[in-house]
């Protein structure tokens, strides 16, 4: 189990600060949700931790080790983007096997690894299906299985529920949470929906204009919002009486 620490991370696009001095710690096995409106810098934060974007300032540590200089392929971070990013030319089996094969595992080890992951996400029997033959929820589970197959130090999820229809969302959300809890992987997830964020996150970091305004449990945010902005963002949770 690994700890993620983000220290004073900043990233600008021209004169616009996408993330501005972000400090965060995700404890081992914790599920932290970074919640905020569209354009607040959530995805930039995720891509900077992943290594796609280079931070202007600040550092990212996993288990105390600065990973800034490491290429993406050596960070051992599992990542599922908003559209799940499944390889369209590969079957479910080959998608999940991808990371095991890049690591040089033999055929039998790959087989065992893929079977275990598909069993974990409840997709046994779907091995031969291509992404275009899967529903949104199934695609998400394949993407999750693929990211978890490499036994990552950290899992990054970008809006995992945004491409799921409302009818199946509650079930997908429940499965997602259970699967991740079973593996105990440290998870950083970015979302815009307060209801989903509070259902999934052990803690929630509220982000706005590139800054983390408040970070805490649902109880902390509801009882002691630091300002009106946080109150407004979590208002839907009050309104629908989710607690």
């Amino acid at each position: 189990m690994s700890e993620l620490r983000v220290e004073n991370l900043s990233k600008s696009y021209g004169t616009t600060k996408a993330i501005d001095g972000v400090n965060l710690t995700v404890s081992p096995s914790e599920f932290l949700v970074v919640m905020g409106p569209s354009g607040c810098g959530k995805t930039t934060l995720l891509l900077t931790i992943l290594g796609v974007l280079r931070a202007d300032e600040g550092h990212v540590y996993i288990n105390g080790k600065d990973i800034d200089a490491l290429p993406i392929s050596e960070r051992n971070i599992g990542y599922t983007p908003q559209d799940f990013g499944l390889f369209p030319h590969l079957s479910t089996y080959d998608n999940v096997a991808f990371g095991l094969r890049t690591r040089g595992f033999g055929r039998s080890e790959v087989y065992a690894g893929v079977k275990a992951m598909l069993s974990l996400v409840g997709l046994e029997g779907f091995e031969g299906r291509k992404p275009n033959e899967l529903s949104g929820g199934q695609k998400q589970r394949v993407a999750l299985a693929r990211a978890l197959a490499i036994q990552p130090s950290l899992l990054l999820l970008d809006e995992p529920l945004s491409n799921i229809d409302e009818v199946t969302k509650a079930e997908v959300r429940k499965n997602l949470k259970e699967t991740i809890k079973k593996t105990g992987v440290t998870t950083l997830c970015v979302m815009h929906d307060p209801g989903d964020s509070f259902e999934l996150g052990d803690r929630i970091a509220v982000m706005y204009s590139g800054k983390i305004i408040q970070c805490g449990t649902l109880h902390d945010l509801l009882k002691k919002p630091v300002n009106e902005l946080v109150s407004n963002l979590i208002a839907p949770v009050h309104r629908f009486d989710l607690i």
Binding site: L50, V52, P71, I72, S73, E74, R75, N76, I77, G78, Y79, P81, G85, F87, P88, H89, F98, G99, R101, T102, R103, R146, A147, I150
Partner: protein
């Protein structure tokens, strides 16, 4: 059908008629004397030129794909000053640079008097056709690699531990098969039709560097019906080859 439908149909019909007229005329003109086609098929000089054109076009198409993949990879992932100029020089410029000038440059650069003299040889045919035709393959490959990059599939592959070889061999190339085949097809077609650069750099030595358009030109001076018959053979061959490429590409789409 309103007036816009009629205008659209009329304009499309004009274009289609214009494009097909020459081919139709060729068929009709030869139609009364099919023995000329047989004569052309048994004319060793015509068959030799056809073989040089077709084989050179295949070699050029294959080479273009082989070099387009790494070049498109470099242009997709590297950042350097003058990248836009480099792309113009590699893709658009060779398509607009007069082929006769290309042939002339190669004749001076790799001809008599230079340390490497390959003028008037089969490799000269390949080089002249390659410069003019390969940009088609590179343009298509680069466009597709950039599209995959925008989709973020390469980043996913890297996050799963993929190195350059995995990203290239397991993601970029398999997802670009249609474009690579399309690039090969376009390159082949352009190489088949290329004349000026090849004539100047490689000359037109029968059974050695004489390409099909050259032999048709020469035959048109001495025996025009035979030249027409030979043209019909070349047209049929090109249509069959292009339809075959189209079928292969369609099957993979």
């Amino acid at each position: 059908m309103d007036k816009y439908d009629i205008i659209i149909l009329a304009l499309a019909s004009c274009f289609i008629l214009f494009m097909l007229a020459s081919l139709f005329y060729l068929y009709v003109a030869v139609g009364n004397s099919w023995n000329l086609v047989v004569n052309a098929l048994f004319n060793s000089r015509i068959v030799g030129a056809l073989w040089i054109s077709v084989s050179a076009a295949f070699i050029v198409g294959a080479l273009a794909i082989v070099v387009s993949i790494p070049t498109a990879y470099v242009l997709t992932y590297s950042k350097f000053r003058g990248k836009s100029l480099m792309e113009t020089l590699l893709i658009e410029f060779p398509q607009t640079f007069p082929p006769a000038t290309v042939g002339l440059v190669y004749l001076f650069m790799l001809g008599p008097g230079s340390p490497i003299n390959i003028a008037y040889t089969y490799p000269a045919v390949i080089i002249a056709k390659f410069y003019v035709s390969a940009p088609f393959a590179l343009g298509l490959t680069l466009r597709r690699f950039r599209e995959i990059h925008r989709m973020g599939l390469d980043v996913i592959a890297e996050s799963l531990g993929g190195k350059t070889k995995h990203v290239l061999l397991w993601v970029l190339i398999p997802l670009s098969t249609v474009d690579l085949l399309g690039g090969f097809s376009l390159t082949w077609a352009r190489a088949m039709g290329e004349v000026a650069a090849t004539l100047i750099f490689a000359g037109a030595f029968p059974w050695k560097t004489e390409i099909f358009p050259a032999v048709v030109y020469l035959a048109s001076q001495s025996d025009p019906p035979l030249a027409l018959a030979a043209s019909l053979i070349a047209a049929a061959l090109s249509i069959i080859a292009l339809m075959l490429f189209r079928w292969i590409v369609g099957g993979r789409r």
